[in-house]
Symmetry: none
Subunit: 198 residues, 4 copies
DNA sequence: TATGAATGAGGGTTCATTCAT
DNA sequence: CATGAATGAACCCTCATTCAT
């Protein structure tokens, strides 16, 4: 990679990082391209060399950040000795919840913008160096000796259940704090898994 | 109520109805105050006599619409002979899902903007003639002979679970159509209820 | 007409006058909406209350100015005792040439932007208080005892001939000054008329 | 001519051809330097090695294209046996009209931008390999046994008359189609010539 | 020569908000 | 209460031009 290519990559990353910072602190609507380029220290025109518009950079960020979260959780899981499927899924859920709990603006950003369909599309379409190992998570289900009616639906339901209950609890302590809510969530997950077991 | 008061009420409702129509068809960001007052047939300044800004009218709409949905479901439930708690909750869930399925823009509008905390706040703070009987839904749990660890959490989890899984399925058919997804959802709900039963 | 209506009319005219001033001195491309509103002493948004964009105001100006020129010439003609058709037409041509000669920027503005078709369309479509009596000029031909193969074509040819030869001569003294050119033009006009006489 | 010189010439021609293509299809204002270099397949900076700016390349194109048209007409004339002056001029006019009729975008481009003075200046100033034999056309008048008051003015008037009447007729069919208009134009030309004959 | 990434002033346009009527 | 003309800051985006490579 030439010096110029390296410089380009750096500019692009500066824009991405700045945009994320601003999106999460001020919200997407309130963030202007002006804000982004100013903070990133590049000229306005430069933004348009790398991204089509504000929503283009947002989508790229979402996919990147979401993938990263799964990746971190997966890494942590591989460090454990857990073998039981339910335990492994609960571990992942717990890890992800804690990531969100530790970075609330990240939770806000992703939840407001991510949907299952968009997520899948972005992962597939964006051929950049997204080292997202999201689909590896499937392997948890697939490699398990147990079988399920429909693994994708099961995964989908768990993801939606966790993310939607987390959102309110972590950000607004509603109806209770995440600490209090967790046992309920985990119980529920175990039951959902059971209901789908063949 | 005097003639002038009536006129005022009519203006306010015209603004609310128009705003809802525009929010659901064009999105909130794309809808301008101009659009609203034009369609409502009032002057621009008049808008500010009734609402603080676009987000004020949005919040009022959300609480109103969400309450209405629960109300409709509750009414329908009262027409049935169902006595078993799980059946009653599934009935409500099904009814609400069908309401959303029949009016996708409504689902989109509410899901994008409603959160448990905001919803509760709005219901409490807005003392207007909101005839929302949302909290009646609690009575389903409370009046049941069965008891649960924490009824509000249970309700919260079900609501979040249903609304988040619905969203993706109804609007984007992801991961599967709502028709296919329903049995899984209902199974999961039953399991969640079980997990919380004392 | 209310005070407010009057004020509106004044704003609109201020914009038109300023735009014309700038268009003729700097050219249309170089003139920005910013320039116009600044000189006119109104806010930028105000411009868009009265005109769609730069080209809208240009078109309205062209029709207005072109109509005015014919009107002035026609008025002057009516003050004369000329009866002979050729003489009357030459008189009009001379008058118009002198108007352009006296206001070269006007000539530049109109010639660059006016075409026979656009001119006719604008005259018809723009229902504003354009007191343009352009078509009265037809009456010169129609009321004459002489008849012509095709009066519109004759008029068209004379107008195009005069305006195109004027343009170069008045603005660039090419190939000769307008003073030198005039006799040639008038001779040519007489010949053109003859060629079309039945 | 060295290999490098050849390459340079090729680049320059690529830019000229592409610019003409874009100017005539999209208009000059809408055409950007970006468009030109992209289509021409050269880098952006390269443009500035050959031309000062957009208007520089435009002027060079106009002179070139206008000269070419006269050249083609002149060539065609030399293939005929016509000896009578009027006939020869009418032949040229007809030929040029047909060239424009066959390539309307060319007519649009040249008419909007060409003026007698600019044309002459460009021809004189631009010493490039413009093999324009425009002035040869003078020889038609000069070599004729007949004599005229002022040959340049005569030529000027005919050129302006033809080009301005053509413009409206060919591009907008106003006031009538070029087919219908031609006899009127030719009649008028004959009269103009007569009026200038000594 | 040739490149093309970077620039940044300035373009047109929008729209929430105000306030005199 | 109701109006709507006027505002002007702020928006997104373009594009001619430069200059280090």
């Amino acid at each position: 990679m030439g010096k110029s290519d390296l410089n380009k990559k750096k500019k692009r990353e500066a824009l991405l990082n700045t945009a994320f910072e601003l999106f999460t602190t001020q919200g997407i609507n309130k963030t202007t391209i002006n804000n982004i380029v100013e903070s990133a220290g590049v000229a306005k025109g430069t933004f348009y060399l790398y991204f089509k518009d504000k929503y283009d950079i947002r989508n790229k960020l979402i996919a990147h950040k979401a993938g990263h979260i799964f990746s971190v959780a997966d890494q942590a899981l591989s460090q454990t000795q857990l073998t039981n499927l339910e335990d492994r899924i609960i571990f992942l859920a717990d890890n992800i919840i804690e990531q969100f709990n530790a970075d609330k603006s990240l939770l806000n950003f992703i939840s407001k913008n991510l949907s299952w369909g968009i997520f899948k599309n972005e992962l597939i379409s964006s051929g950049d160096d997204n080292d997202v190992d999201f689909y590896n998570i499937y392997t948890i289900l697939e490699n398990s000796p147990e079988t399920f009616k429909n693994p994708e639906i099961l995964l989908f339901m768990i993801v939606e259940f966790v993310s939607s209950t987390c959102y309110s609890s972590i950000l607004y302590n509603e109806p209770v704090s995440i600490k209090e809510l967790k046992p309920y969530i985990f119980d529920a997950i175990r039951q959902i898994i059971k209901s789908q077991r063949l």
